[in-house]
């Protein structure tokens, strides 16, 4: 069955790629105030048990698909949403980076 892993930058983590995309959308006239760019992995697993598929999806996300320091993820089995991990991060780094950007 198919397990889908959605990986996103955590809240507060600076996302230069998302910001570049936001500027492109704004140039096209869309009223986009923020874009966060992530990744999607569709993984076909040779398992029939949805719980086992979700477990493998989470483990793979923790071990390689996402870097838990800066990214959170969401696992869907056959398109059905499941557990969400690491959505919130407290982050002074974005401020520090903006200070540098202001130079």
């Amino acid at each position: 069955m198919k397990v889908t892993v959605l990986v996103r930058p955590k809240d507060g983590i600076l996302d230069p790629q998302g910001e570049a995309i936001r500027q492109a959308l704004s140039t096209l006239g869309y009223p986009a105030s923020s874009v966060r760019a992530g990744r999607l992995f569709d993984v076909e697993l040779d398992v029939d048990d949805p719980a086992e598929a979700a477990r493998i999806g989470r483990e793979a996300a923790d071990r390689v698909l996402a870097n838990g320091l800066i990214e959170g993820y969401e696992v869907l089995v056959e398109g059905v949403p499941g557990e969400v991990a690491g959505e919130v991060a407290e982050e002074p780094a974005a401020e520090a980076a903006e200070e540098v950007a202001a130079e």
Partner: protein, 232 residues
């Protein structure tokens, strides 16, 4: 006897030859290592060099850590062997969990390629022998994903343990707290985004890379004596 320093080549590595040449210039014996092999070939120091291993697929450095040679490097590091990660090598060592933190895309979204000044943070680091806090080393950077980051508690832990070896005088990439170079808690693994191997020859520019590479040689020499007391 010259210490044998291994330099690993992955698919997409591009700074391996400069690293090998630099090791030779400062008095080591350079040894080319291949990512798919599983022996350090008697090396007592290792460089994970710069480049774009595996095309930076997934995240910079995320795939290289699964190479057979990296399992050797992990075992070598766990046994106290000196390992230096430069640029992509720094990213690889962070992704492998051998160094704290992670390298994020530069905050300005652009590739940065210029000389930077690195400020020594503490006295007595085996990686920077003879240097004092405040000493400055000029070394080039060239990267897109060079902003070091760790969650606040992990950064505080690294700072308190003296693991921050160098800071940027003028932060080129948005790195947290201007951090340019960190070590692991044990002190035998070291990583930085700037390129010491490009800064060793006065005919080609600044030579601020020499102290760090000499630090690696000193650590490797001490290790080779320990490993083979008879041959010394």
């Amino acid at each position: 006897m010259k210490p044998r320093i291994g330099v690993i080549t992955f698919p997409g590595t591009c700074d391996d030859r400069d690293a090998l040449r630099a090791i030779g210039l400062i008095g080591g014996e350079p040894v080319a290592l291949w990512h798919a092999d599983d022996s350090l070939d008697g090396c007592t120091g290792v460089i994970v060099p710069g480049g774009f291993s595996y095309g930076d697929y997934l995240r910079a450095g995320a795939i290289a850590r699964f190479a057979p040679m990296m399992r050797e490097v992990e075992a070598f590091a766990a046994a106290g062997g000196p390992v230096l990660g430069i640029c992509n090598g720094f990213q690889v060592l962070c992704e492998a969990g051998l160094l704290p933190g992670v390298l994020r895309p530069n905050h300005h979204g652009r590739f940065v390629c210029r000389d930077v000044d690195l400020v020594v943070q503490r006295a007595g680091s085996p990686w920077l022998p003879g240097l004092e806090p405040g000493d400055v080393l000029r070394v080039p950077v060239k990267h897109h994903d060079g902003a070091w980051y760790a969650p606040p508690d992990e950064q505080e832990r690294a700072e308190a343990a003296g693991q921050v070896a160098l800071r940027y005088a003028d932060n080129p990439n948005g790195a947290l707290a201007d951090i340019a170079c960190v070590t692991n808690a044990a002190g035998n693994v070291c990583g930085l985004m700037p390129h010491p191997e490009h800064a060793v020859d006065p005919a080609l520019g600044p030579v601020g890379g020499r102290p760090l590479l000499k630090g690696l040689l000193t650590l490797a020499r001490a290790r080779s004596k320990k490993a083979s007391p008879v041959s010394a």
